[in-house]
């Protein structure tokens, strides 16, 4: 059992469930938020060890905004305490949309991207790597 706290920010309850079950079975304490604003509020409330973030929520790029907010380099940022909180971003890479955004740390300050559907084994391995112990 570990006491690590994970915040899932995703608007899809089924997706949240599919993430929550493997996390909880691995002993993580899971918190959920259903949109960007709620997610940001929850970060302050929970102070999670890691955030799992969906890109498309209320808007197609809501997840990007949350990531930019949390990891802002601005010293006056309201979230400066969470700058180091690792983020796993869930993506559904597809080429047909004109909104093309490279999953690239140059563009987005997130630790890693996981493609949906998420394989629980891969997710847990990633967590062990990002927040060991």
């Amino acid at each position: 059992m570990n006491n690590k706290q994970i915040l899932i920010i995703d608007d899809d309850p089924d997706q949240r469930l599919s993430l929550r079950l493997p996390l909880e079975s691995a002993g993580y304490k899971v918190f959920e938020a259903t949109n960007a604003a709620e997610g940001l509020a929850a970060v302050k409330q929970v102070n999670p060890d890691l955030v799992i973030l969906d890109v498309m929520m209320d808007t197609t790029t809501a997840g990007f905004q949350v990531a930019l907010e949390l990891h802002s380099a601005d010293p006056s940022s309201a979230y400066k305490e969470y700058r180091k909180t690792p983020i796993i971003m869930l993506t559904a890479i597809h080429s047909t949309t004109p909104l093309r955004f490279a999953p690239d740390s140059d563009y987005l300050p997130v630790e890693t991207f996981l493609e949906k559907p998420v394989d629980p084994g891969v997710l847990l391995a990633k967590l062990r790597e990002l927040i060991p112990g």
Binding site: Q15, S18, A92, I93, H94, T96, T97, F101
Partner: protein, 652 residues
């Protein structure tokens, strides 16, 4: 251009009518006459010398040979000066005034020469007197009537002076001895009679020659005017033709209309031309293209159909010619037209397929400027303009529709993919035992469900790929220069593991010359193409087989070949290979799952990228797919102007 008013060349600056065309005509004639006169004078000078010698040698007459030859020589001498002067004027592109000056000097000196010739050949008795008459004709041809008469009077004065001086013995009489033996120069009656007849002959000739010349000039002017109006007509036809071509070549509405108003104004030779289109409410006319009107005039106020009798009249389908705009009751803003200096207006409706689109209007500063010809011309232009406007509007509508389509595809992408994706996530969670222990049978069922969900996901992806290619007319705008080798290598790497798991050999052969080549595409589309081909090759090749991917380049093309030693394609299957949802029976047998869309997508994508695909196969032996893509040349980029921006991959 340094071309001075070339006769016959229509030039809008000089088109203001009679005065200039007449002026040009007279000028050109004067320049030509000066040269012609100089040529004639060589003969005249030589003639004087030869005639004197003939008198002396052949007829044995005793004349003032010395002075006569001197006069002939002098004529030749001053003609040489005129000759050089004329050449210099021509070289310096001198104004006509300089030629006129030269002509006056010539005629003046000729007068002196003729007078001297008369004096040295017998004064009033001299037959040379007659020479004055053709000189008067020449002067009439060169100069306006007034100047010609002045020269005629000068001739009369010179002859009268010479004969009177001789008569009174103030000037020695130089008779040609042996020609006339009576001394007629002392016969008052004879002298008076000759002088009187000479004077009347000179004046009559000056009058006749001037009149004939004047009439000739008038005729010529008519010809010039006629040819100018022909040229104007040609120019109009050209404007019409330009309009037609503009309509065909560009779909940018404002560009089309701005060109149209400008060329119309130029072709009609008027101050301004405007196009106003009805707004969406159909109540107001908004200026969309204007040439030659001031901003103040355009800002005069809204043009509302309700308050504008002229607009109503024109929109009803009539061409309206207003000869005196400031005084017309049809105008909504007569004061403003007056301030703008507009006196005539010609308005033609822009006829649309479903009612009038707006008004094409020409403005002129002259009162009563527009003729029925202008009306016909403006109507023709309006018809062309309407086509342009409707084409552009239709194009905008298609573009808007395309945006809607793309948005739809985007929405479908998300709406279809996410539930399937969530289903798969949940299935993995359950089959991974994260939701409690499951029995073997349950696991087996979950795996079957997973396979179906995965197939569904693949089908959706393929359909979207296909839809993306078919619906996105703007795909060209997104193309970028993509390093082909990198993409192919990435795809080959992707399948290395599965190939080795199947005991296959996956080989990659690269032509060294292809290292740097780029093709105009998107990385995703290229990935899609080669991923499909390599995945098929690995899928349909039995264990122990071989898959070879190679890239070779010619000067213009990159050729990627994906060859396998797989099950091959039958002749029958070959016919349907690229059809949507088609799967060959032997492929189905080997792999149950498959959408039958992969090769359709490959062919569709390759075709859109300007390439082509070829297949070569023998059942049981293997297949070879050859994709040929045009190599993007750097020079083409400079011509195209801008490089497509680097774009990235989609993620959401």
């Amino acid at each position: 251009m340094a071309l001075p008013s070339l006769p016959g060349k229509y030039d809008s600056e000089n088109s203001s009518g009679m005065v200039t065309s007449r002026r040009r005509l007279v000028d050109a004639e004067l320049v030509a006459s000066v040269a012609w006169l100089i040529k004639l004078r060589w003969i005249a000078g030589l003639g004087v010398i030869l005639a004197t010698l003939a008198m002396e040698v052949v007829f044995r007459l005793d004349a003032a040979t010395g002075p006569l030859i001197a006069i002939g020589t002098a004529i030749l001498a001053y003609n040489l000066i005129f000759y050089l002067g004329d050449r210099r004027l021509a070289r310096n592109n001198a104004p006509t005034a300089a030629y006129e000056q030269l002509a006056k000097w010539q005629v003046g000196l000729d007068w002196v020469a003729v007078t001297l010739l008369i004096h040295y050949s017998g004064g009033i008795e001299s037959p040379v007197i007659l020479f004055f008459l053709f000189h008067i004709i020449i002067a009439s041809m060169l100069f306006p009537a007034r100047t010609a008469f002045a020269f005629a009077l000068l001739a009369i004065a010179l002859l009268t002076a010479t004969s009177l001086l001789e008569y009174f013995g103030l000037l020695p009489h130089e008779a040609i001895v042996g020609f006339l033996n009576t001394s007629l120069y002392q016969n008052g009656l004879y002298v008076s009679a000759v002088l009187l007849f000479f004077a009347s002959a000179a004046l009559i000739i000056a009058y006749l020659a001037s009149s004939i010349q004047e009439r000739l000039r008038q005729r010529e002017e008519e010809v010039v005017e006629l040819s100018e109006s022909l040229q104007r007509a040609t120019l109009r036809l050209q404007a019409l033709n330009d309009g037609a071509r503009t309509v065909g070549s560009t779909l940018d509405l404002s560009q089309v209309l701005n060109r149209l108003v400008m060329s119309t104004a130029e072709a009609m030779g008027v101050r301004a031309v405007s196009i106003r289109l009805l707004d969406q409410s159909g109540k107001r006319l908004e200026p969309v293209a204007v040439y030659g009107l001031s901003q103040e005039y355009l800002n005069k106020g809204p043009v509302e159909v309700e308050n504008n009798p002229l607009a109503r009249e024109v929109l009803a389908g009539n061409v309206v010619n207003i000869p005196d705009a400031p005084g017309s009751p049809l105008l909504q803003y007569p004061e403003e037209a007056k301030l703008e200096g507009i006196c005539s207006m010609l308005s033609a409706p822009l006829p649309g397929k479903e009612g009038p689109l707006g008004i094409l209007r020409a403005y002129a500063e002259e009162v009563n400027r527009f003729t029925p010809d202008d009306e016909a011309f403006l109507t023709a232009i309006a018809a062309q303009g309407s086509i342009a406007i409707e084409n552009a509007l239709a194009y905008h509508a298609v573009e808007a529709l395309d945006d809607v389509k793309s948005q739809f595809v985007r929405m479908v992408t998300h709406e279809l993919r996410s539930p399937v994706s969530v289903i798969r996530s949940l299935l993995r969670t359950v089959s991974g035992g994260f939701a409690g222990q499951i029995s073997d049978q349950q696991r087996d069922i979950l795996e079957r469900v997973s396979r179906r969900a995965e197939f569904l996901q693949g089908l959706i992806d393929d359909l979207l790929d296909l839809a993306a290619g078919k619906t996105d007319v703007k795909i060209q705008a997104r193309l970028e220069r993509v390093a082909l080798t990198g993409i192919v290598v990435k795809v080959v790497r992707r399948y290395e593991l599965s190939a080795s798991e199947k005991g296959q050999e996956l080989e990659w052969i690269e032509d060294a010359s292809c290292k740097e080549i780029r093709v105009l595409a998107t990385p995703e589309s290229l990935d899609r193409v080669f991923n499909n081909l390599v995945s098929n090759a690995v899928k349909y090749t039995p264990p122990g087989g071989r898959v070879t991917v190679s890239l070779v380049c010619t000067e213009e093309e990159a050729i990627v070949t994906v060859a396998d030693t797989g099950i091959g394609i039958t002749a029958e299957a070959m016919e349907h290979l690229f059809e949507e949802f088609y799967r060959a029976p032997n492929a189905k047998e080997m792999e149950r799952e498959g959408t039958g869309l992969g090769l359709t997508i490959v062919k569709d994508t390759v075709t859109r990228l300007g390439g082509h695909i070829a297949v070569d196969s023998k059942p049981g032996v293997g297949s070879r797919f050859t994709v040929t893509l045009p190599i993007y040349e750097e020079s083409a980029e400079a011509e195209a102007g801008e490089t497509p921006e680097k774009s990235a991959t989609v993620a959401y």
